[in-house]
Symmetry: C2
Subunit: 267 residues, 2 copies
């Protein structure tokens, strides 16, 4: 069993409730990698017997640090329409809400289509060296990362790099076909924009993340275990909060998802 599937394995305990647990392979500096928590919340929706259609949107709010150990997810279908469904999400540890969020699933059909945000011109993944950080949280080792621009700073010397844009090729380190939960996790893979911009290890954490799934299930499946091009950039850093806007393309240039997050930082 793939270590990603181990981590998102949930037990439907009845009604809208699902039991799961954090997984040591996905540990971050404190608690689990936010991306795996997002994937677990989405997995509860996907496992729900009343689900209609595929994910089109996911918002997760990091209410408190998730402690290592078991958790319960509540995935409530708040509204079901003919071709769309809206979900309200909570993750609990004991009585405490540690995550909240919402998701939307939908039946999709053929329409007009066009991509405006095209894949930028970058070198192919085979020509971009893979990074192997010496010290890093455990989850980073779950991914193959080939940074083209805006890699994690080599020296934490406080140099203002002038912008926070990162571009990298990325995929699961142990190959696994892409699906909605793994795409949700990868949306949180970019290291914090403040570290990128300032080359300073300031304390920080994502407080909310949204992912729009712009590819249909067939396009996502056709990616297989291929490379994804990720791009992320902060738009404003101000009084303890910064935003990040991001895009994820397949290697053939299909825009699979766009993502946004708000990050708290301390100084």
């Amino acid at each position: 069993m793939h270590v990603f599937d181990e981590a998102i394995a949930l037990n439907h305990t009845g009604g809208d409730a699902f039991a799961g647990a954090t997984h040591p392979a996905w540990a971050n500096m404190v608690g689990p990698f936010g991306g795996i928590t997002a994937a677990q919340l989405l997995q509860a929706v996907l496992m729900h017997p009343q689900r209609l259609g595929d994910p089109v949107a996911l918002t997760v709010n990091f209410c408190a640090a998730v402690a290592d150990g078991p958790f319960t997810i509540e995935a409530v279908p708040a509204r079901t329409n003919r071709s769309t469904q809206h979900w309200m999400l909570r993750m609990l540890q004991g009585d405490a809400v540690v995550m909240s969020g919402s998701a939307m699933t939908a039946l999709r059909r053929e329409t007009f289509g066009v991509t405006e945000h095209s894949i930028p011109p970058v070198s192919p993944p085979e020509q971009v060296p893979q990074v192997h950080a010496r010290t890093r949280p455990e989850w980073v080792g779950r991914y193959e990362m080939r940074p083209i621009e805006g890699a994690i700073p080599a020296q934490w010397d406080g140099t203002d790099l002038g912008h926070s844009r990162t571009r990298l090729w990325m995929r699961d380190g142990a190959l696994r076909p892409l699906d909605y939960p793994s795409l949700a996790a990868i949306a949180d893979l970019f290291f914090p924009r403040l570290w990128s911009r300032r080359a300073m290890l300031v304390p920080l954490g994502t407080v909310t993340m949204t992912v729009y799934f712009l590819a249909d299930a067939q396009q996502i499946a056709s990616v297989g275990s291929g490379y994804l091009l990720g791009q992320a950039q902060g738009q404003r850093f101000h009084m303890g909060y910064l935003d990040q806007t991001g895009q994820i393309w397949s290697e053939v240039g299909e825009l699979l998802a766009t993502t946004h997050q708000l990050v708290y930082y301390k100084e």
Copy 2:
């Protein structure tokens, strides 16, 4: 009383519940303008006696058409930390959930700050003519709009305009000092990107919107009733769903908010 304040007036009926009603001045083609509904949900948070700090993030999900008439909003403080608070939101009409969402409020303090997404070079608002559409939903008349680029098409002839980017100066038509609810409403002011791109009146509707408030309360207050520069663009249109990414600056170039939404379209 300003017509915006009339629309967001709620009655705290106890606990986490607030009663309100749609307002005819904010009518859209079907039901109310989504921006005013977003503002009503945020206003419930702002009125809640347990609120901590100012809004930093808001996500609203348009679960079903809001009917003209009364509604109840539930704003539940799901998690309160030392300097942050996470809210779960629902709007109900009878027993039906018509809106869901989440918000985050926080106490902010001075930190490092920088803006990466600068205000684009555009003509000042006084040099950009105001548009007065002949036929339009009622709510459009609540705003002064001065489009610089990507105005609503003059002819619905199906011409592919090559991109969907809109830039416009905008503010309340009847002047009113900017605050968090009015900024949330203005985040939904951009007309749908599909109409912009294709010059075709295809049926569509926003299904979810997120706003990140990147300015603190003092900066928002200092805008007063000044102009805002709005920019919005679609990134991908595919199988019935498109995303929009947007930015809102003050006239002096402070990035007040970034916003994203997912829009359903029919053909």
